[in-house]
């Protein structure tokens, strides 16, 4: 049995322009599975969201024009909800959807998920296109202010599960 490559912390965020955000990471999983885990509520609940906070809403209607909505309660900050609509669906390689952070209805962005598989490794990119630099900057700032800090012990738990099952 070979040990999987430790890819924790390997996601890279870059800002290609004043209105864009680009997130890149590799996964040791087929694109098909990654696409499914990204777009199916039963799976999404297991990874999206905040530390120890249950997702209170997790809906994803994977159809062009279909709506999605995620919400999670945060002990300190109250509930946060994000929602949007699917614009283009090309499983397992591409999904284009809108995303709005509901407290700021003007914050609508267009997200493009791209999955490219090669030799069992899938490179994921999430491209976020905002309409203005202000909205893009607010989006980045919200990552900090909404306290999306995930405790190290939770990561340890996941790593422990990995070791048991792999």
């Amino acid at each position: 049995m070979t040990m999987p490559i430790d890819r924790s912390g390997s996601a890279v965020v870059t800002l290609p322009s004043h209105t864009e955000i680009l997130i890149t990471r590799k996964f040791d999983a087929p694109a098909e599975l990654l696409f499914e885990v990204w777009t199916t509520p039963e799976h999404i609940r297991n990874w999206w969201g905040w530390e120890r906070d249950e997702m209170t809403v997790c809906e994803f209607d994977l159809r062009v024009g279909g709506k999605w909505r995620f919400a999670a309660g945060h002990a300190e900050y109250g509930e946060f909800a994000f929602s949007g609509e699917c614009l283009e669906i090309d499983p397992p390689n591409r999904l284009v959807s809108t995303e709005t952070f509901e407290p700021f209805p003007d914050s609508k962005a267009v997200n493009t998920l791209t999955l490219e598989e090669e030799d069992g490794v899938t490179t994921m990119t999430v491209h976020v296109q905002h309409e203005t630099k202000e909205a893009r900057d607010a989006h980045i700032g919200s990552g900090m202010e909404s306290g999306l800090q995930h405790s190290l012990d939770r990561i340890d738990e996941i790593l422990a599960t990995e070791r048991e099952t792999v």
Binding site: V12, V13, D28, V37, H43, Q149, I158, T165
Partner: protein
Amino acid sequence: MVIYLVGMARAATTADAFNAVAEPRRREILDALADGERSVTDLVATLPVSQPQVSKHLKVLREVGLVRSRSVGRQRLYRVEPLALKPIHDWLQDYERMWNERLDRLDGYLYQIQGKE
């Protein structure tokens, strides 16, 4: 060092690193200095900017501590002060950390469900 990560409207104050790097030409200058010390003449030769413009931008960058200079003979050499970029770096880093946590969770979950199959 890469300076693409900047240009943010967040700061309302005038003299801080965020505002200094909001100007595209100043980011070009920082990028050019990222490889090492350079003189104004050198910068003018590499960038499509006039000498008075380069000097003006360097002045702003020096005021917020992003750039330092020293005299060598008759030349003045400019270099980047990486510590001054830290607030900007931190700003993006928190966001990157959030994504890393989320995607590490996704990664762990993928291992878990693939292991069970």
